[in-house]
Every structure is written in C-alpha cells, then in structure tokens.
C-alpha cells in the first residue's frame, strides 16, 4: 500500500519475461530461472513484557516486512505473548560457523574468574 507498485514490479520481473519468453517457445525453460514460489524467510523476535529483551521465537515466510509482522502476530502471539515484534530477514543474519567453535569459544573455558560469582551481593540489592 505505502510502497505502491513495488510488489507488482517485483512480481512482473519474475513472471513476465518479455525479453525472450514470448517469441522463443522452445528454449525458455533453459534460459529463465525457475519462478521462485517460496516467500523469503524471516526470523521473528518477540518481547514478552515491558523491560525484557526481544527473544527469538522462530521463523516464518512472508513476501515483505509488513506482512512478516502481520504473520508473526498470527503465528506467534495468538496467546497474548507479546508487546512488540521484530522481524529480520534470515538472509541478513550473520552467524558464526560451526567449524569455528573451537577457536571462538575454547579459550574462555578455563577462566572461571570471568564469571561474576565471587562477589557477595547484599540482599537488599535484589535480582541482578
């Protein structure tokens, strides 16, 4: 709605191959990539209560950001779980490689002193 024409332009680029499709009947299958039928994947983060962080709850398919939020509302907040939704294209997430697990994490293994467990916290501080 807000981006008038954008969806149809994208779909047109996929569906109507006016450059070569209409006159060469035989060779099109080899030339044109198969039409993508799956919507892109989105990772969904929901904030359950004010003050808590957004938490990853799962993923879903949607054609664009607006619909990703709408779908997330229907798929992940049916039972009144959320006060806020983030949707991130799965393709935009950068992840560490499983093969890097050793170099990344092994070095921290024997360093218990990095855990802040050696302090006495007064009772009246409450939850930290």
């Amino acid at each position: 709605m807000s981006a008038d024409g954008v969806p149809s332009a994208e779909l047109g680029a996929n569906g109507n191959d006016t450059a070569g499709g209409s006159d060469t009947a035989g060779a099109t299958a080899a030339e044109t990539p198969p039409v993508r039928t799956e919507w892109p994947l989105w990772e969904i983060f929901i904030r359950g209560q004010h003050g808590l962080n957004h938490r990853h709850v799962g993923s879903l398919h949607a054609p664009d950001a607006e619909m990703a939020i709408g779908n997330a509302r229907d798929v992940y907040t049916r039972r009144n779980e959320g006060t806020s939704i983030w949707a991130v294209r799965s393709a935009d997430i950068v992840a560490s490689a499983p093969s890097d697990k050793g170099p990344l994490f092994d070095a921290a293994e024997s360093k218990v002193y990095r855990h802040p467990t050696f302090f006495d916290i007064p009772d009246d501080v409450g939850h930290m």
């Binding site: 024409g5 969806p7 149809s8 398919h61 619909m67 709408g70």
Partner: protein
C-alpha cells in the same frame, strides 16, 4: 428438530424483545456461518502463515457467535443455549446475511467475502459498543477489538492482490463481481432493526452503510479494482427471513452432524 420448541408466537406484534433476539441471532449467525466457512480452509490454504491467520479469524468469529447466541437465547426466553441455537436449527431458522454462506471458492474469493463482511462488521460493532443495552455493548466492545484486526488484514490483502499480478487482479475482480450483489443485503435493514437503532440498542444502519461505502470505495481504488454496479445480479434470498441459498443446507449438514447424531454428547 426445532419445530416443537422454536415456534415463535405468530400473533405477537412488534415486540421489542423479539426484535432484539432476532437482531442478536443475526449477529451470531453471521459469525457462526462465516467462521465455519473459514474453518473449511484449515490445512489447505496456500501458505502455512495464511492457514493460521485464517483459523485465528474463524475462531474469533465463532467465539463471538457463542456470546451473541447465548444472549439471543436469553432474550428469547425459551431456554435455548448457544449450542442449541447453533446445532439444532434448520436452514430456514438461520438469520445471517447470504454473503457469509457463499462457498469459499479460490483464496481470492474467500478474501473478498471477508473484506466485504469485515467492512460492515467493524462499524456495526463499534456502534453496538455504545448500545444502551449493557450486555450488547460488552460483547460488541470485545468483538470490535478482534474485528479491527480482521479488517486491517483483509484490507491489506485486497490491495496486494488487486494491485498485484494480472492473474491475481483478474481473480480479485472476478470475486468482487460475483459477491457484490450480496453486499446490498448486508447494508440494508428492516423496520425492526431501525426501531432498535432508534432506541439506541442497535447500530444505525445508515451510518454503518456510509462507513462501509467510504472504506470499501477507497480500498477498491487502491487495489485498482472496479467497483461493480449496484443492483445487478439480483438474487431472491433474504437472510433476515431465513431465505437462504442452496449452499447453506450442505454447510449445516456438516456443521451439525455430530450433535444431531448424538444429541446428548458432551465434550
């Protein structure tokens, strides 16, 4: 099955409580029948996300129907529960608009049906939320929050698919042309309903129709869909008098078969 208990007093004049229970039945039946239609899609929609969204809408509508029918039964005073009204009436006792019983067709037709209904449903409920009858106002207030989202969703999809590809545009226009004649009945009102509106109990049908016009007109323009002419493709039904189309019998046969076969079943 209902003939023994359901005979309304034929000599009764314009009894306001009859008018109210009739109006409540209509609200309940609209939700029940449309909710059932939507439930037929469960597991079969084009995408998982749509499946869940549509099932959510169906559950909202059926939940609302339960509240309306319960109140309708109460106003009737014949001791019928919401379940009795949902499962033990015959086609001619249902009071919903013909639009909602129309078959699902393709996904586009389901969405157009939903959109035309939602655009009527929301202004109706918002007006009913200010009803002088506190019971009506309470149900309408709860329902209108759900329906606001229904309308937002169906509006968005109408624009996306209307202004989408040639194929989606053609399907949406076809669905609109086919369903448009039923929108007349939705926006109309009979004398009993006008009297209820004048008493501040029911929604003012003219205000609802104006809100419907404004929203539908604007959305169709955004969706590049052509508004069909009014008054074409006339049909002979009249949901208020229980004159329904051929599809309702099949729908009820499926919806009611369990309680009809096992009348005392509990679950």
């Amino acid at each position: 099955m209902t003939t023994n208990t359901a005979t309304p007093n034929p000599s009764a004049g314009p009894d306001p409580s009859d008018a109210l229970s009739g109006s409540l039945l209509r609200l309940g039946d609209n939700g029940l029948i449309l909710g059932h239609r939507l439930s037929e899609w469960c597991g079969k929609t084009p995408a998982l996300e749509e499946d869940i969204a549509l099932a959510n809408t169906a559950l909202d509508l059926i939940g609302q129907a339960q509240l309306w029918l319960e109140l309708a039964g109460e106003c009737e005073g014949d001791g019928r529960s919401a379940d009795d009204l949902a499962y033990r009436r015959d086609a001619s006792d249902f009071r919903h608009a013909l639009l909602v019983e129309q078959p699902n067709g393709d996904y586009g037709r389901t969405l157009v049906r939903q959109f035309l209904f939602d655009a009527w449903h929301l202004p109706t409920l918002r007006a009913l939320a200010a009803s002088s009858d506190a019971r009506v106002a309470a149900i309408a207030d709860k329902a209108s929050r759900e329906v606001a989202y229904h309308l937002e969703r169906s509006t968005d999809l109408i624009v996306r698919l209307g202004d989408g590809t040639d194929e989606s545009h053609a399907r949406m226009q076809g669905a609109l042309d086919a369903l448009w004649p039923y929108a007349d009945e939705l926006r109309g009102a009979d004398e009993a309903e006008r009297a209820l509106a004048a008493d501040g109990i029911a929604a003012d049908p003219d205000a609802v129709a104006a809100a419907w016009e404004a929203h539908v007109g604007e959305v169709l323009r955004h969706a590049t869909l052509v508004r069909p002419e009014d008054g074409r493709g006339r049909y002979k039904g009249d949901g208020r008098r229980g004159r329904h189309g051929e599809h309702l019998g099949h729908l009820l046969a499926e919806m009611q078969c369990l309680p009809r076969a096992y009348p005392d079943a509990r679950w």
